[in-house]
């Protein structure tokens, strides 16, 4: 179990870093969903099945869709301007 948790944490942190540094916003949103999915796995391993289910359905699924729709609606899916440091 220890190794599974460590693996999930590593995946989670890697995905979180991708969220910050990926240039494409749609990919960044996908990375946030990966963070939530890894978190759901951790929750399941920590004997919290209810929370794991909610994290997967609500945080990974719904808010992922929500953020992706927002990216689409604001037209950010084509550009990556206006970010980063000048």
């Amino acid at each position: 179990m220890l190794w599974l948790v460590i693996l999930a944490v590593v995946v989670m942190i890697a995905a979180a870093l991708l969220t910050v540094f990926l240039r494409s916003y749609l990919a960044a949103v996908a990375a946030v969903s990966v963070v939530s999915l890894a978190l759901a796995v951790i929750f399941a391993l920590l004997r919290a099945p209810d929370v794991a289910l909610a994290e997967a359905a609500v945080a990974a699924g719904l808010s992922g869709v929500l953020l992706a729709l927002t990216v689409r609606r604001t037209g950010l899916w084509r550009s990556d301007a206006g970010d980063g440091k000048k």
């Binding site: 209810d50 289910l53 359905a57 609500v58 719904l62 929500l66 689409r72 609606r73």
Partner: protein, 232 residues
């Protein structure tokens, strides 16, 4: 006042927070939860609520008032988003229908998702899952057809009707116990046999109300994000 000075200050704050949290978590014993209240709930929940899933017993029984607040927050967010987006212009959306495959998939998925959502909601007091998880699935069930054919927007008035009545039901179930001289949200109806589908008194009813409310609210929220202009 703005710009780099502020960013530097924020980064300093971030560094301070990380150092503080690191020091705190180092001192925090892991795996030795104090479980003052937790242990007492674990030992008393089956007898007091009749729910086999103790997280459900907490969410609907011991901390049912939190759950009412939680449902309310979704309602507040949906109302506020509606207020903000009413009068929004057309977005950057393709207005063409979503194509044959998506439509067919939506038609196929719809009954499946509804049944799955209802199952998860109704078994919330027995197995993992419940009103929130099932409600999210219900929301997906109602939202996918909308993606498939954007020209037929989700019927907001139906959603509002479900939302309003489900929220009212939660409070009315809570107030019912008040009329019998008990505190708000006191569970009623028999507790039944631990582990049966028809057990845990009024808790499954509450979860049903939550599931419907969460489902209609989340679907409405997403529909508002997608919707092209138009007042809701």
């Amino acid at each position: 006042m703005h710009g780099y000075g502020r960013t530097t200050a924020s980064l300093l704050f971030l560094a301070g927070l990380v150092v503080m949290l690191y020091a705190l978590f180092q001192a925090l014993p892991f795996g030795a939860a104090p479980m003052q209240v937790g242990q007492e709930i674990v030992s008393r929940a089956p007898g007091e609520t009749g729910a086999a899933n103790i997280v459900t017993a907490i969410l609907l029984g011991y901390r049912g008032f939190d759950t009412l607040g939680e449902v309310t927050i979704l309602f507040v967010a949906a109302t506020a988003a509606g207020l903000i987006l009413s009068g929004a212009g057309a977005g950057d959306l393709p207005k063409a229908p979503g194509g044959f495959i998506l439509k067919a998939a939506a038609d196929l998925l719809f009954p499946f998702l509804v049944v799955l959502g209802a199952y998860i909601i109704l078994h919330g007091h027995l197995t993992p899952g419940g009103g929130f998880q099932g409600g999210a699935i219900m929301a997906a069930a109602f939202f996918i057809p909308l993606l498939a054919s954007p020209t037929s927007p989700l019927n907001h008035s139906t959603a509002a009707l479900v939302e309003g009545f489900a929220g009212t039901a939660f409070i009315v179930i809570g107030l019912a116990s008040l009329m019998w001289g008990e505190a708000f949200l006191t569970p009623f109806l028999g507790k039944g046999t631990l582990g049966d589908l028809f057990s845990a008194g009024s808790l499954p009813l509450l979860y049903l109300a939550i599931g419907l409310k969460v489902g209609s609210e989340l679907a409405g929220l997403m529909a508002r994000i997608v919707e092209v202009g138009g007042k809701s």
